[in-house]
Symmetry: C2
Subunit: 429 residues, 2 copies
């Protein structure tokens, strides 16, 4: 496969993007009425195509990796970009998992009959056209594409320039799947240029032909999207996740959960970034938990109270409380009980995931009720903040906004509803 990227002039780009929007709208109309079996067939056929074109995909990925090392990308970014046999298998498995999820479109969510005989149904329908703007992970091309398809939405995918060839190769497989199942190829489109102006066009909403924008990437992308978007955005901000160790925490659970929340994978949004320790737990919990984190290779940045009891921690600056390290670093603070923890989280959290470690049900219920994040946990690792771990199947992201969908967003979060009212000639008095 060779790159189809062409030199596109500004007016051409604008025209091309608007055309993509119109084609997506047409495809969305078709998909909204599509047979569930056709959608599942298309997704399975896409998985088959990824399997049979693995060599092409890996060759495209090699090309991206060469470009990346020329550009001097960080090891972490290159690692996220790189595919191998096992990762391609992972992509195929996720795609097949999505094919097997229940098809929710057309489901009657609730229904009732009014005294005048009108029956009212709330029926699940797709959102319409979804633009997904993501950075270098090439697997997002497959995940986002098939999640949108499963939920009956047309997708316009805009991948990062570093993974352009890999994403394009994967996208070709998705189109093959659509075609085999007799669905419109424009159901999943990939923006065929690395020109960054294309993002601006997507954010403009393509003349009303984009119903939802999903940004998946770093802060600067999300900030740009939130400023420029002229269509609704499914926010996916940082994960500044907190673990709070209460005075009544079981010490072994506290150690295991703190280490797992921080260190299992440090680069995901559900990784803990700040550890809060109850002042009344300093003598019992502080040293063993920090020893365990340290032994696991985690750097510690503590406030004055922490450093008084654990002098090897470096000092935390004010900015540490709002930093998403995505690395083997954690900020540690002593707080005054669950009230202090709630106050700290209220001020610094990004609204993603927070966990309390305690055996006291009243304390945990207070935390779970009053902490205002998408996911609140008791005695569990923040790294469970994941659509798969929640049993939702694949996810298009973790929403940290407050409307429409929160937490891991899977098929259901990519749907909406309409009211269907059936009468027999009723008029309103």
């Amino acid at each position: 496969m060779t790159s189809k990227e062409s030199i596109i002039h500004d007016t051409d780009l604008s025209r091309q993007m608007v055309k993509m929007g119109q084609a997506a709208r047409q495809a969305a109309r078709h998909l909204a009425q599509a047979n569930p079996a056709a959608k599942a067939d298309a997704i399975n056929a896409a998985a088959d195509a990824i399997a049979s074109r693995k060599t092409e995909i890996l060759a495209a990925n090699k090309r991206d990796l060469e470009g990346a090392s020329e550009k001097g990308l960080s090891t972490a970014m290159i690692d996220r970009l790189a595919l191998d046999d096992m990762r391609v298998e992972g992509v195929i498995n996720t795609v097949r998992d999505v094919a097997r999820l229940p098809d929710m479109i057309g489901d009657v969510i609730s229904q009732w009959v009014r005294p005048n005989g009108l029956t009212i149904e709330r029926v699940r329908i797709p959102i319409g056209v979804i633009a997904v703007i993501y950075e270098s992970r090439p697997n997002v091309t497959a995940d986002a594409g098939v999640l949108c398809l499963k939920s009956g939405n047309a997708a316009i995918l805009r991948g990062g320039s570093e993974s352009f060839h890999t994403s394009q190769a994967i996208h070709a497989c998705l189109v093959e799947g659509l075609s085999k199942a007799g669905l419109p190829e424009a159901a999943i489109q990939f923006v065929p240029t690395i020109n960054r102006d294309a993002v601006g066009h997507l954010l403009s909403g393509l003349n009303g032909n984009v119903d939802l924008i999903v940004p998946r990437g770093g802060k600067s992308l999300v900030a740009r999207v939130n400023i420029e978007a002229r269509a609704p955005v499914l926010s996916h901000l940082d994960g500044i996740c907190h673990v709070y160790i209460d005075r009544e925490a079981d010490r072994d659970k506290a150690i295991a959960i703190a280490v797992n929340s921080k260190m299992r994978r440090t680069g995901i949004c559900g990784a803990a970034e700040t550890l809060l320790i109850d002042r009344a737990a300093i003598d019992t919990h502080l040293k063993p938990v920090l020893d365990a984190l340290s032994a696991a290779g985690c750097a510690l940045r503590g406030d004055a109270s922490v450093r008084a009891y654990y002098p090897t921690a470096s000092p935390a600056a004010e900015s540490d409380w709002s930093t998403e390290y995505l690395d083997s670093v954690i900020s540690v603070k002593v707080v005054d009980g669950v009230e202090g923890a709630i106050r700290h989280i209220d001020q610094y959290s990004s609204g993603h995931t927070e966990s309390i470690i305690t055996e006291n049900a009243r304390t945990s219920e207070k935390f779970l009720a009053e902490v205002d994040s998408a996911i609140v946990m008791q005695n569990a690792s923040t790294q469970f903040a994941d659509g798969g771990e929640f049993g939702l199947g694949a996810e298009i992201g973790i929403a940290t906004g407050r409307l429409h969908a929160r937490g891991p967003v899977g098929v259901e979060g990519l749907t909406t509803y309409k009211y269907v009212v059936r009468g027999d000639g009723q008029t309103r008095p």
Copy 2:
């Protein structure tokens, strides 16, 4: 009661608005945990206060009406603004109805247990702080205020300048209710100035202290909100609602529903603006339906096919198909069956409410499935598009956007959810 409006300088206004935002956020935290009985008590006490202060409210309304006639407002606007004993009774009844609605906050929407023993609950919670920006109807002050309160949200109300004194008088009753029930008075705030810059401040989101903006008013307000808002907006666009009369429509139902959809009340968003008639129904349905509309006092604007069979209709221009008359005028077009109706609606509808009149179940199912509006109906008047008629209690508006909530938005649409995860020390492998 005298007006508390003061001359506020720009920097003072900015500071005052930010303070309102902060106070609202504090109140929202309190309300999210408030006892359901306290919220219901506050709402009932507000209804009592409106009843006992009726004289004051009517006096304030008189002042607004004097200002309105000085400004030369239209009769329709003055009618919307005017209160009398009966309308105040209507406000009180709506407020008491809201008090009686079930309190949904804290409800477990769904729950499940994962194979690793984690229990996951989706729990209903308030959205947070809601800014409602509305035009001259003073009853919105009461409706919006108590709906936000019932759903556990803090409200910042910004009423139109024409109804400023009336709204302020009603707002004082809401505050009295809050105070009697021991809830923070900042739970329902009213912007105490007619300075239009206050709207700009609200749209800026008051430093992140506004979670949702609900505009209720004409096109120019909604357009401004959609351009300037830096917080999510619950869109409430025009209601360009359609009635489609199919070849298999029962003629009496067609007549009754067409007349009721258009003429019951012409000024509401659920009023029909366009009548579509199946080409195959021209001989049987066109004349009797148009005769009935005409007899009810409705002006007709038809396309060429309509005028060929009904010459007294004036000619419709292209712009008629996208005009919300809100008056005794209807545009009429002949279309090629249900397919033609769907195509026309797809092009011109504002996504509010559309109704098909037919006795053929296959035809109606096609229409109900393929028309992409918030509310689709069979054999029923579009004027049923209303929260009360749907059995949802009062409504804060009819949403024509696609995300979060569609159609009539009552208490449930003003809530969101969070995930509550309970474990016993689980870490993620």
